[in-house]
Amino acid sequence: MDMTTTDIADARLVKVIDSRIDAAVAIQFKDTLRAVTQGGPHRVVLDLSDVTFIDSSGLGAVVAGMKLLNGDHVLELACLTPVVAKVFKLTRMDTVFKIHADVAAAFPPAQAS
C-alpha cells in the first residue's frame, strides 16, 4: 500500500496510490495511514482518486483508520470514484465522513481579508 503526502496550509493531503482497498490490503492500509500521519497536521484529507475498487473489508479499514487517527487528527475524504462512492452511499458512511468532490474543494482558496 503506497501513499504520498503533501502538506497544504494546515492540513496533510494523503494520496492512496493503489487502485484497490480490499481484504488483501486492509491491514497495510491502516498501518501506512498511521505512519504517514503521525506527528503531522491535525487535518488529514485522503485523496482516493486512484482507488477504483473498495470492498467491505476496505471500507472497514477506512473506518478503522478514522478511529486510529481520532483525537490527534480528523480524517476527511476526497475524489471518490463511482464504485467507491456507491459503497459509501449504500452503507451511509457518506454521512459519517466529510467528503470533498475533489482536492480543490477540500482546500478552498483563503478568503481575502
Partner: protein
C-alpha cells in the same frame, strides 16, 4: 488450478478458495465483461458483489483453508446477469444467508462499525438471492440488474 471459460452468453469459473485464485478468476470475469462493453461502474458493482460472496465462501464456508473448490457460473441475460455459485464448505449459519442490516452510525467515532457491511452490500445490489444447502454443497444464486444507468 483456475479454469475459466467464456461462452456465447456465459462465463464460467472453477477455482480454489485461495485469495490469489479468487482474485485472478474474478479479474478474468471482469475482463470478459469489458469485452462485452459493460461500463466501468457496472463491472465494479459486479466485482464488489462477487468479491463479497467469494470472500464469504473462503472465510466462512472453507474457514480460510484455501483449498476448497468454488464453481461460479455467470450468465449474461437481457438487462443484467445471473450468477450461480457452488461450494463444498460448511453451511451458512441457521441454513440461510445472514440478514444484512444497515449499521447504526449514530454513535461516537470510536464506536463506528468496522465490519458487517458485506451481506448488507450484497442485499442492496443483488436481486432474487436464493441459498440452498444440497447434501454437502452450498448453492447460492442471484441476479443483478445492469445497464439501466
Amino acid at each position: 488450478m483456475i479454469e475459466t471459460a467464456s461462452h456465447a452468453n456465459a462465463f464460467t469459473i472453477r477455482c480454489l478458495s485461495d485469495t490469489f485464485e479468487v482474485r485472478h478468476s474474478l479479474q478474468a470475469l471482469i475482463d470478459d465483461m469489458e469485452g462485452r462493453n459493460f461500463l466501468p461502474e457496472e463491472r465494479g458493482t459486479v466485482e464488489l458483489v462477487l468479491a463479497e460472496v467469494l470472500n464469504n465462501i473462503a472465510e466462512h464456508a472453507y474457514e480460510e483453508r484455501g483449498d476448497g473448490a468454488i464453481a461460479l457460473d455467470a450468465t449474461y441475460i437481457p438487462g443484467g446477469m445471473t450468477f450461480a455459485l457452488v461450494d463444498d464448505g460448511k453451511p451458512m449459519p441457521d441454513g440461510q444467508t445472514p440478514l444484512g442490516m444497515p449499521a447504526n452510525l449514530d454513535v461516537e467515532v470510536n464506536d463506528l462499525p468496522e465490519g458487517g457491511f458485506g451481506w448488507f452490500l450484497i442485499g442492496e445490489l443483488a436481486r432474487d438471492l436464493v441459498y440452498e444447502r444440497r447434501d454437502t454443497q452450498n448453492h447460492l444464486s442471484f441476479r443483478m440488474i445492469l445497464g439501466e444507468g
